[in-house]
Symmetry: D2
Amino acid sequence: MILRDPVHGLIAFESDEERIIENLLETREVQRLRRIRQLGFTSLAYPGAEHTRFAHAIGTAHVMKRLIQRLRDLQGSLPPEHRICRARAKDALAAALLHDLGHGPLSHLFEDALPHSDPHEIWTERIILDPGSEVHAVLAKHDPNMPSRVAELIAGRHELPYLARAVSGTFDVDRCDYLLRDAHATGVRYGNFDLDWLHRSLRFAPFDAHAAPPALAIDGVKGVAAIESFVLARLFMFQQVYFHKATRAAEWMVRAALSLAVQLLAKGVDLPSTPPAFRSAAEGRCLSIDEYLELDDGVLTATLHAWESCDDPSLADLCQRLRSRRLFKTIEFVGEESKNPALQQHLLLQAKRATERAGLDPAVYCGLDVASDVPFNDASDNLVVVFSKGTSRRPAEVSFLLSRLDGEEMRRERLIVAPEVREQVLRMANLD
Amino acid sequence: MILRDPVHGLIAFESDEERIIENLLETREVQRLRRIRQLGFTSLAYPGAEHTRFAHAIGTAHVMKRLIQRLRDLQGSLPPEHRICRARAKDALAAALLHDLGHGPLSHLFEDALPHSDPHEIWTERIILDPGSEVHAVLAKHDPNMPSRVAELIAGRHELPYLARAVSGTFDVDRCDYLLRDAHATGVRYGNFDLDWLHRSLRFAPFDAHAAPPALAIDGVKGVAAIESFVLARLFMFQQVYFHKATRAAEWMVRAALSLAVQLLAKGVDLPSTPPAFRSAAEGRCLSIDEYLELDDGVLTATLHAWESCDDPSLADLCQRLRSRRLFKTIEFVGEESKNPALQQHLLLQAKRATERAGLDPAVYCGLDVASDVPFNDASDNLVVVFSKGTSRRPAEVSFLLSRLDGEEMRRERLIVAPEVREQVLRMANLD
Amino acid sequence: MILRDPVHGLIAFESDEERIIENLLETREVQRLRRIRQLGFTSLAYPGAEHTRFAHAIGTAHVMKRLIQRLRDLQGSLPPEHRICRARAKDALAAALLHDLGHGPLSHLFEDALPHSDPHEIWTERIILDPGSEVHAVLAKHDPNMPSRVAELIAGRHELPYLARAVSGTFDVDRCDYLLRDAHATGVRYGNFDLDWLHRSLRFAPFDAHAAPPALAIDGVKGVAAIESFVLARLFMFQQVYFHKATRAAEWMVRAALSLAVQLLAKGVDLPSTPPAFRSAAEGRCLSIDEYLELDDGVLTATLHAWESCDDPSLADLCQRLRSRRLFKTIEFVGEESKNPALQQHLLLQAKRATERAGLDPAVYCGLDVASDVPFNDASDNLVVVFSKGTSRRPAEVSFLLSRLDGEEMRRERLIVAPEVREQVLRMANLD
Amino acid sequence: MILRDPVHGLIAFESDEERIIENLLETREVQRLRRIRQLGFTSLAYPGAEHTRFAHAIGTAHVMKRLIQRLRDLQGSLPPEHRICRARAKDALAAALLHDLGHGPLSHLFEDALPHSDPHEIWTERIILDPGSEVHAVLAKHDPNMPSRVAELIAGRHELPYLARAVSGTFDVDRCDYLLRDAHATGVRYGNFDLDWLHRSLRFAPFDAHAAPPALAIDGVKGVAAIESFVLARLFMFQQVYFHKATRAAEWMVRAALSLAVQLLAKGVDLPSTPPAFRSAAEGRCLSIDEYLELDDGVLTATLHAWESCDDPSLADLCQRLRSRRLFKTIEFVGEESKNPALQQHLLLQAKRATERAGLDPAVYCGLDVASDVPFNDASDNLVVVFSKGTSRRPAEVSFLLSRLDGEEMRRERLIVAPEVREQVLRMANLD
């Protein structure tokens, strides 16, 4: 098969070992990913961000295909048992395509709001291992042990550690695709980096059969810029998109609505048109795979729409605001304020009072939102830069940029308030 | 307001006259366009094509803003009464944003399948003129006559004909945005053209106050390539996307499903979870604006999903196939076959018989799909190319390419069949 | 080696068979191509067009490398003797890099103006075959027969005709690179096409060992758009760049200056600072390879600058105008005028008279410039489109666009006049 | 006038105040910039880097035009005397176009190597103020005081300090163009930043007529990412291009060749084909403007070629190596070595001895090359970020990235050695 992709251009899966992709794409579990958007409610901030996990899954498999090509060019120096044979390539391609298979609707919000629901990684594994799933059938037809091997690989475990890290590591194929794809869809150009150059920068670290298994490293002469630009692209996407104030406000609202609904359902309140699977999850019952797979962005969006006419005024109001994009406001702490938790708690308290005075439930309409990420951590990322003579160094030793970023935390702290009380809180707080 | 757009980069509506855009964006009718995709089921062929009419509406307003800037640079030669004053600019911006306001779900399929439903143009006008709509309220607050002026402009009527053609003409702002946006989302790069250069190529034709009103023309020295590349971009998008075999097959299936549902409902069959508005439309009753606006891609997708378990086997089957993307197959007539209607009808008949033998309803599972477009028509497009000395010529006179394309019809004729009978039909037909 | 290219991104020649490229790049004959611009005086019309034949040579080798990868993916269906073995791959890569090795300075103008000079193809062959050249030494070190094989391949002769056509054919690697590179450097975006897709569209035509040798064809389902867009890109580059009026005027002036210098030198006039090789060529003597290789854009530019102070007033004036970019003007024949040779000759005569009255030599300052190209010719391009069942068709049979362009000639006819007489000629001619 | 630019797309100078650009472009002093490449010998490392200062001058004027549009949108809040009137706009456009007018050949190498030559800024001023230059004539025709005003503005002095900083400041129009243009020509994509967004991020800081003159600031909500990405783009271009080892090696060689020639000429040695202006400069005599303007990349390249056959073996050898691109090698100090000047001096001494043993002059064939830059300096860059309520902050206060980079020096230290001794030096030094 061959298809056009707005991010990677031409995508082709034509060789024998790539046929697994085409087979998997025809399963209903993979087709379901068409109905789950990659970035949930981010399209309220970036109207272009409607891209799905389905497109991302294909893109991730494509990045894996290219990575395998690169690794095969490099692996001549390895003993055969450490190379990527055909079976391993099929496993890796399948793992790349299926890595998000069990994702719930609305990005991570569904998991956050349903305390007893399993994380999506568990669902991914469960679906792959379930003999009743179409995905399982496709994998098992290629090789009865393939479902378990692919599930292991997605979980980051493989006899070739370098292959496991390609699925789940600093520059894994998932990140490589989603950064480019999110940048393309939102129009945030800072999120671009040079994938060709990144792959070309890879080398196997000098291999000693008596020591550790083979590991990938970065070429000291040509590769440092590639990892710098990858780290920067990711940093910019966090700043501009994932931590965007409208995204965070919308996510806060959805999470508040779902949590409130869970509480109401748990109390026995009847909410109209609530999907059975959601009701079960809210009540802490285990979902069957079929029930779980029924849930997607379309179903949840319809549910939020139905709740607009429910009896709980806060839930109904939240849902109405979301549909017509009347988002909560954010008030960000900058400069000294960002290092003063006491001040933040004080202002949160004042905001809660103002919210209450405005007749709104402060538990729902007000809060402190903290977003944080460490863009680069030399110790935990565990990357090695190698030079032609065989010397190894840490990225922070050879990179001007990464040494300045090493271990530094990027943090956004914001009050979330209803628009009705924003001016009042700003006046009280004397904030920007 | 200022936002990032994946197609145009930075979009800003900041001047006084542009404030109307921000006001209109907050209405629920415009927000509804977030729930209607620009290309309906095309994402089954191009996984990236998830972009919405909401993003397209903003992009169209942006193109109008830029066009107005260009026209104002040019209009010094016109008497004041023919220029774009502030009120006219506001009308034009609003018309650009609202041109698709009344669009139904699933691209054009909803209209096609519901014979008594009004075309979307009528709904657009109705919503704008309805005193109960939020859009109407915003427009009327700016100027009580604005709703009717904007509705007229969208319909292609204005005291400045050149402004009317900017909303609805060969290079109108709608086309300028959707070609670029569809190309960006699908990854079909051939659909790009140079918007800057196209606008820069515009000039006012020599104006004679006693003759016709002022009209836009193309600069003879700099502009011909711009219109050539626009026509070609559109032609390529038709060939690659709008006429794509998987797109056409999916559209055929959706149309068949909707039509079948309409027939069943009309007969009094009860289909589960059918939205009231759809039921009314199927029964030929007039929908209220509120009923109509309830319909969007999410609602129709949920409906198609619900029908998977209805009692009618054909409808249930069609809907199941759509959800898991098991599309009908197309068999295209090329070369001599494409000029032989008798042959086509003969093969259609054979295909229908094969379909019947396979136990499928030939009225639903088989048909002849014809798609056609005339990429350039010198007579009806009514464009004029002007030279510095004032001479006017027709595009086909000065363009090598356009003279070769003038009036030529691009046509795709295909048999649509169920996958089960494809091989059999091919054998019978001895087709490629 | 690995390098960054503004057109193709990352270019790497790292495998064993690609080492030939790195070796050849270090020769002085290939390094000389740094001093010859791809588009000669086109930078007077497009200031960005300063790119060299050196960069083009590398890009062409890169396109060949990618094409070889594609052909190797496809050649499984061929008997081994028809496949691209390592030696053939090296030949093909070398041929791609060296295809312009013997190019003279100032694009094609040097050859045009020096009637007895050999065409650059002859010089390319001569340099490759000359045992004294560094290029020869590199090739011969790899294999004593390699120089002659590479020279043959560049000339379009090879035991595998499909490989010969990859070096010199409708979509040859030379064209693929220069169209993209010229588009990138000039900023004429219409010149882009999708190289990935073009290569992916290639297939071997059904092969019959008893009939013809294997030939490449275009995939009927996926490939037609690729060739359409290639043909269109080339057409646009001709219209916008290669036939641009300022380019043509500058080329006319350079050709006139060189021709005049040749005449003067032939008469024994001494022109200051004329390079010995140019003098020899003007006098009809054969140049040695060393003499020829001394000539490059820098040398010719310095020569034209030196002639600004020569005694011949026309030559001095032409050179002064070129240096300060005071170009001749063009008056284009459009519409009916373009089909009326008698009218054109009549106007040329009038223009010559006006030139003479202005005190300028009409043989130098005035002329008729005709540029023409046939963008697509189904008969001579000899391309075949194949379908999955094995049917073959001609491109013009299956392509809406190509059938309209088949055999059509694109033609630009212009009077070239000095700026001093332009208005006068326009008045006489009543032209645009 | 309207032209295509590979970086900015369409460039148009069509309004009355923009006519100055067209007039200035026709002067011989501006046309001379076609013969000076922007990046000198960088094309030896990046084959695409052939772009000229002429294209850069046009691009810079275009960026100024867009900046003026933006400032005019913003200046409504300023008293009229602080706004950009038509005369000031013309001055600014002219200053942007002419800012590099006096640039010598071969980037900065000419100045470096000729100790008594004036810096190019002095030459720029001299040419603009010289009544004999065509540039002066064009400016003076518009307004007799314009030459001196434009010269002042280029030097960073203007009654509106914000306009002076637009010509020469952290984000000046020169940098904005050259970063994008160098990135485009080299293919180093990391050098891109979002110019639209940068301009859109500008605001006037709250203005108090009794305090300082109006100053530009960065919008606190929308603008921080724009300056971050600009600083990063510049940092990447330094790392990848301006500090590239092959660039630095070539520059070292050219500087060595020119310095050696200056010494030889000063001693009275006769070097063949040395341009009179170079000879004068070498002997410390003042050059006339005409003499200076004769010098360009073409002339110097021809000179270096002629010196290949001079009697001084080092000079001849250096020039031969440059022409055939046999560059000196670099050995970079990384990690701890980079902080150890004693070690560096020790290795330099050893390298000099090895060079001498190889029969090469250590003063010419060996050295320590140090390149450094401070990408961001909050104190000296003097930028202010403003928030909607009027609060001002420093960039390093609000930017995660800039606070980590503030005042940090990026530094590359390398030994430069002839290829003949590289291995030997590496062994002695035990370096990577």
